[in-house]
Amino acid sequence: MAQIQLNEIGKTYADGYEAVKAVSMDIADGEFMILVGPSGCGKSTLLRMVVGLEDITSGDLSIDGKRVNELAPRDRNLSMVFQNYALYPHLTVYENIAFPLRLTKGAISDDEIKRRVSEAADLLELNDHLERKPANLSGGQRQRVAMGRAIVRDADAFLFDEPLSNLDAKLRGQMRTEIARMQRRLGVTTIYVTHDQTEAMTLGDRVTVLKKGVVQQIASPRELYEQPVNLFVAGFIGSPPMNFLPARVQGNSLQLPFCEVSFGEEFAGKVAGKELVIVGLRPEFVKDSAIQEPTANAIHFEADVDVTEWLGNELYAYVPFEADASVQAKLDELDRDLDGEGMRTQMVVNLESRSRVREGERAKFFFDPMLMHVFDPETGENLTRDEDAAQRIASESEEDRKRALERAKRQEAEASA
């Protein structure tokens, strides 16, 4: 059990490349923290600095209030699951899991090792495979062995470096819930690196979004989704991603490609002096007028649908639009930051599966303007972020987290009683 504090942590490589820039965060005891971002954002480097495999160039790393910058990995008492599992191929599953205990040079008796390994094997359902070698295991089993090796020791925290990226989609889903269950049950502080936003959203108590070594936002998944601080976070979280539409400010209204949205006095101050803004609208907030009753303040528009994709439970409709050249540059840059391909400008709409919208046809849509985000095209800052709402979400999710932890502890106590 441990609190991990990062204070202005920075990493500069010998060639002068700055991989991580002044990252600060407090990870509470028992919290599940996710580091997420596109490739090359420094998330793995940050994790490796925490575990001690990379030197920290600047800043302080403390575990339970004790500065550990200079400690060797073995003295930090953290355990880590590597992306390629890093199992020892010459040892059986049993010996792989027992490995950290064997290193203590007899401080732990053979009986104790046996007890702890079988406890971990029970938890991870590895009992049938203890005598096998890693080469003969499936991907999911190897993954579980790697986790077994991490939990067998009473480590202060678990660190995961993209642990599921080598698994196929179905297994990934299963292992994801497995990790969530295990973390709750053990109540151990966890830092988890991923580039997969589904993992980030489902696993994390809080998520740190990184871009080029700089923290963009540290918040609960709900806050990231509902109150992103900037264009990058808004575009990174959500699938399909948020649509970004150029909008011209004219008097008290925004001119979008398909429609016009008027706004009140309160908002006018924020866009004052700006000619162009970027409007963010999540695909799932746009509805099909033909099958759903519009809300009172809904904005209606008509548009030509280019392509549709029917997935059974939902229907994606793609609506192309022309973007203003000045905004286009900003959108292209954002797309590159998000590892995108710089494709055509189009709006994705996530409709109900019973929708009759078909490709090549003109369709009627509506959306609630309150759900819209407006971003400053220069700074990328979210002008519509509601700090009070964000605060509320943050405290709610902190409460949820504490309840879940207590519940897990209670169940553990009952189970052992």
Binding site: V51, G52, L53, A72, P73, R74, L78, S79, M80, F82, N84, A86, Y88, P89, H90, F99, P100, R102, L103, T104, R149, R153
Partner: protein, 278 residues
């Protein structure tokens, strides 16, 4: 690798002549070793009569005082050279594979260059030096030159092996609580075992088969089998010691054959996996 029948036949067509080419002289030695002295020069490839007389001659007979101590010397020298060479090469190759230090390339190049020197060019200065410092005709006096012969190749083979082992293995061990030494001994060395076996065998064979150093740097006390063979004499001055030499050659071939048979798979793995990623 699955070969089509056509490929199999063409492989056989190439390898059978090669096998004959190498096996005919070997069998010839065996044939000479089992021929009794009387028909030694009968010019027949296959022996008409079998006898153990040559083997008796070198193990218990008149040549035994020459052969038996030489056999012991050979075994001692080769084992010592092998152990030292493997241990040194393992450490050195590990450093080369894992650490970035100035002059790393130079060390690798120099060690390769050393193995290009003709052995005979080393013998004369060594002979003088060894006599002056008292290493002449001693076991260390042979072990040291063998190390210089075998270390370069061992270092190259082993560092290729270490480079193949993913860094994560070691990092995982460190995070699991291992010291650098524990990570090396419990993870890296076992994983490099095929490479360690290969270098051990290469070293052993090089030392076992060496003639030039053995004949030049020893006289009585540390003479090994290849050198001792040169001092075999026939029963009279009109008799060639061919049979005795052949019998001794057969005896010293036996350990080599046994080692190769035991470690065949590992040697192949060792020699190929350094080059091919698998």
């Amino acid at each position: 690798m699955d070969a089509t029948p056509k490929q199999k036949w063409s492989l056989a067509a190439v390898s059978i002549p090669v096998m004959l080419w190498t096996l005919i002289p070997l069998f010839w030695i065996f044939s000479l070793a089992v021929k009794p002295q009387s028909i030694q020069a009968d010019n027949k490839y296959f022996p008409r009569e079998f006898s153990w007389e040559n083997f008796q001659l070198i193990t218990t007979g008149t040549a035994s005082n020459l052969f038996n101590p030489a056999l012991v010397n050979s075994i001692v020298v080769c084992l010592i050279a092998t152990v030292i060479s493997v241990v040194l090469a393992t450490f050195c190759a590990y450093a080369i594979a894992r650490l970035n230090f100035p002059g790393k390339k130079l060390i690798l190049l120099v060690s390769l260059a050393v193995s290009f020197f003709p052995v005979i060019s080393l013998v004369t200065p060594l002979f003088d030096l060894w006599r002056n410092i008292g290493l002449f005709d001693t076991i260390p006096g042979l072990v040291i030159p063998y190390l210089s012969l075998t270390l370069p190749l061992s270092i190259w083979v082993l560092s290729a092996f270490f480079q193949q082992i993913p860094w994560e293995m070691e990092q995982a061990a460190q995070v699991d609580g291992a010291t650098s030494w524990q990570a090396f001994r419990r993870v890296i060395v076992p994983l490099a075992a095929p490479g360690v076996f290969t270098t051990a065998l290469i070293t052993f064979f090089t030392a076992w088969n060496d003639f030039v150093f053995a004949i030049s740097l020893t006289s009585e006390n540390a003479r090994t089998v290849p050198a001792a063979l040169a001092f075999f004499t026939g029963a009279s001055q009109f008799e060639q010691p061919t049979g005795a030499i052949s019998a001794a050659a057969v005896i010293v071939t036996i350990p080599v054959v046994i080692l190769v048979l035991i470690f065949q798979k590992r040697i192949v793995a060792g020699l190929t996996s350094g080059a091919v990623k698998g």
